[in-house]
Symmetry: C2
Subunit: 564 residues, 2 copies
């Protein structure tokens, strides 16, 4: 038998990774990558930062760690991998084990034979099916040419108003990039919240922050794009509002590009992603599929999900690259949908299940807490972190975590991702041994303190109430005592202003006489982050008050305006 012939369709992230790993496993295989675009191995997650001007040298998006552009010559010389760019694979002939392709420059077609095939065709950006969507000035931020287009707009500095459609990860990253380009932005989101991987309450905190930078419109979609002479002039919303703009970036999600696979008769999963097993093998044993075009299992729910993340694409490429040479020897287990994005000075991240998703999936017996604290001591200029943790009530198993704030979000999300991957229960986390020194964390790390709060709640030591629940109670004018237990100077500086009474924690034991005579009356206590709120609740409970609640995350996690 001669050298193994390997064809990879797709040259962005997963494809080149699979090809490179295959080469490392077999020096003699004949490996060819077909790539429809003109570039290879693009760091597509870096596009927003190129557009936003974090760096100016476009070739950095295409460089190896050693600073060499990964072009056809690089792939041949360093990796002995053939690459055919600007070449579209139009059909997979599984019977003959060949692919048909078209050279997009010359229009010539051809066929190439494979022993093993890898499909890494990525995803397609959704576009709203509304009038005017073909106007000049409307783009996505998915391809390098999209990035080039937007970077040119930044450099020219002519366009002053833009609309970003879609409040997901890409929309948020695009928004930052364009804002840094000096463009006035309106963000449109069809749903009642941004970033649906967050629970509503957490998303609202992000929204509050975003609104300090750009205009945000929720629960409103695009009805049409309005133009003159083929050029975008405004976006018309479903409620009739017209927003004048010269640029619209559409970021309403992506769908798996399953066309070739579907036409070749490979099984497609319920999410639209190509069906693969844990070896990244499709229903044809000679064909593997990886990256944004596949669906993979969620490690908690065991249900298939479409998880178009650059890191997973790379990991899947490594698995497929080894398996197609060595037989199915390594597995890709799945995802817990860990994600993060930068939003000006904030990090916003999540791993595992949100409360909303958990409830939707039938996890009814769950517990949640919100913890707000600095990431480092105040004397080391610590920044705020707000974490929402979700755990299974009976087993104590950690199901998910969301973290936002100007603090070290990335580390927190990584810690929880490891906890979920390791199937930690809350009790495993309360005495975790994490790296502590004041330049890096609090003595009790924010993640561990979050686990402490959850442990206390699971033990029934206290009850809490979310900001949203409290807002509802206020609306319904429910009789309750609202208790801010901070110091008077803190109260002067900022307060919720919802009819609360100030009794500093240090005075509470002496001022119990001011509490309601009816000991079953609801009392809601808080402080800046609700550590003192918790202590106040314990004091009141010990004195016979039976209906005391702590406001989750205190004033720090209050997502509405506050009195100053």
């Amino acid at each position: 038998m001669g050298a193994k012939r390997i064809i990879v369709i797709g040259g962005s992230a997963a494809g080149p990774k699979a090809a490179s790993k295959a080469r490392r496993m077999d020096e003699n295989a004949e490996i060819t990558i077909f790539q429809k675009a003109s570039d290879l191995s693009m760091a597509s997650c870096g596009y927003p930062y190129y557009v936003g001007g974090f760096f100016d040298d476009r070739s950095q998006l295409l460089c190896s760690p050693a600073g060499v552009v990964r072009d056809a010559k690089f792939f041949w010389n360093a990796k002995k991998i053939n690459t055919k760019v600007l070449t579209e694979v139009t059909r997979i002939d599984r019977k003959q084990k060949k692919v048909e392709f078209t050279d997009l420059t010359t229009g010539k077609t051809g066929r190439a034979a494979y022993d093993k095939l890898v499909i890494a065709t990525g995803s397609n950006a959704r576009k709203p099916p509304v009038p005017g969507v073909e106007l000049e000035g409307i783009t996505t931020l998915q391809s390098l040419s999209d990035a080039d287009y937007l970077r040119k707009i930044k450099d020219e500095g002519v366009i002053k108003k833009a609309v970003v459609i879609g409040g997901g990860l890409i929309g948020i990253e695009t928004l930052e990039a364009l804002h840094l380009a000096g463009i006035h932005i309106t963000l449109i989101e069809l749903l009642p919240q941004l970033l649906t991987f967050l629970d509503k309450h957490m998303a609202r905190l992000v929204e509050k922050y975003v609104q300090t930078k750009v205009n945000v419109i929720l629960q409103n979609g695009v009805a049409s794009f309005l133009g003159e002479n083929g050029v975008l002039k405004a976006v018309k919303l479903q409620d009739g509002t017209e927003i004048p703009c010269d640029l619209a970036v559409v970021a309403i999600g992506v769908t798996p590009n399953n066309k070739l696979a579907k036409e070749a008769g490979l099984a497609i999963g319920e999410t639209g992603g190509i069906l693969v097993d844990e070896y990244m093998q499709t229903t044809d044993p000679d064909i593997y599929a990886i990256g944004d075009c596949v669906e993979i299992p969620h490690l908690i729910t065991h249900k298939p999900v479409h998880a178009p993340f650059g890191d997973l694409a790379n990991l899947q490429g490594r698995v497929a690259g080894e398996n197609l040479i060595s037989g199915n020897v390594v597995k890709f287990p799945g995802t817990i949908q860990t994600g993060i994005c930068k939003l000006f000075d904030y990090g916003v991240g999540s791993t595992g299940l949100s409360e909303q998703n958990a409830l939707k999936l039938g996890y009814t017996d769950i517990e949640t807490v919100v913890n707000a604290s600095l990431d480092k001591p105040g004397f080391m200029n610590g920044n705020l972190l707000i974490t929402k943790l979700i755990a299974d009530k009976r087993s104590g198993k950690i199901l998910g975590a969301q973290v936002i704030g100007a603090g070290d979000v990335s580390k927190q999300v990584a810690i929880w991702a490891m906890a979920i991957k390791g199937q930690f229960r809350v009790d495993d986390m309360v005495n975790a041994d994490l790296p502590y020194a004041p330049p890096f964390s609090l003595a009790i790390d924010h993640s561990i303190a979050t686990a402490h709060i959850m442990q206390n709640k699971l033990k029934g030591l206290f009850k809490d109430i979310s900001a949203e629940q409290l807002k509802d109670k206020l609306k319904n004018k429910e009789p309750m005592l609202l208790l801010d237990v901070r110091n008077p100077n803190e109260f002067e500086e900022v307060r919720l202003g919802i009819g609360e009474r100030l009794i500093p924690l240090g005075q509470l034991r002496n001022r119990l006489g001011e509490m309601p005579e009816d000991k079953t009356r609801e009392i809601i206590a808080w402080c800046k982050i609700s550590l003192r709120g918790y202590e106040a609740a314990l004091i009141l409970q010990a004195n016979g008050y039976t209906n005391v609640k702590v406001l989750e995350g205190g004033i720090a996690a209050w997502p509405w305006s506050r009195e100053k």
Copy 2:
């Protein structure tokens, strides 16, 4: 029965934590903290940063998160906890369940009865038993008064030369603080390396960095302190060298302060720490002990260790505080000795076992790898990380990790700490789902890439050689081909200069004719970080060369000078 009487000896970190937790569990208990020093709840890990001028307001070391100084009034008002500062407990009378104490201001003595007692007496800083140790100008950095003394020196700006004795965590932190105070430093360490929680090779990389800031002398101890009129003038070393200086900071470690416990007949462990069980209970069921005065189990070796870390002290305080109220309901499992320190622009951290320690403890069947890479993409201004990972060869279980560099060390150490706590095998780590976006990490996180290298090595895909082993081979003039596979421009910029030949990876397949005729001749390949070195090794192996090795961590991890 009346209110439970709880006495806590020690008011720094663990003690107040236990007292506060006990209060939260029981509003009616009578709780008293005895504290020998004048302050309470000092953030002692923050002393070096106060000395170094990271912040100027000393009271921040004593503040609650809300910015209130935790003095006696605070403890009484907010927590209903009695505190007796400047009061030394001189004896524990276990029979009568009383402590005897002396008011250090008035000299008056007294007795107080307890139902439950907590010993949180901390540790004592070691001092070298040499002549002159009582001279003025010699200090430790253990107490707040030490910090005050050193901060005064910084503010006065008179002292220009200091010696720091001890290259452990505290020595390193002190060194940074004094350097920032504009003082010229010489660091003395008795052992052949700094930071013994690191393996020698990793420590040498730190040493190389430290030497760009201060003078480092290894394998030399203090013979005596020389003075004039009772004031320090020089440090005399064991080899006779005299180092003129006006200040010497001794940081040669701490020993558990077990005096009271020992005199009371409580069992003391083999490390000198008070013996406690997983409930933090001593051999007397009415006495708990926590913090730097105890010994705790190592979670990997199951052997007792003295682990004087501020985070563990706090966690133990929480456990003891709950147990002494509720009966023994919560456990403190032990430590994996996770630690980190800041060193100018570097982070230096470790968790689990080092290779040296593992070998000492009889783990002979281990595998190690070194990975050097950026923490984030180059276009996001990523910084270097160097990780050494230690795993059990047969089970693949992760035993330890050491991380150093200007990159995000804290997150990396946290990830490995979670992996070890979760008993991850290397295979569990290779497809971890960590938060990825270019502002935060590489597409394949540095930790995951480190696991990939380990997996490849455990599979026997390649062999590597440490910088030290290579240095030895060079000394012995062993016949070998040294191969740098980077690009010519990289080679021009910096190279090892040890007789290597440059063959860029992209040319290697065409220049195999330049390889030794004897295919069993040893070939050692590297690049900047040894990713290309690995690829070169695979090419050579595929072409029949049987003795190819990759230099661990490449040029980035070479701890000696390089040619420029």
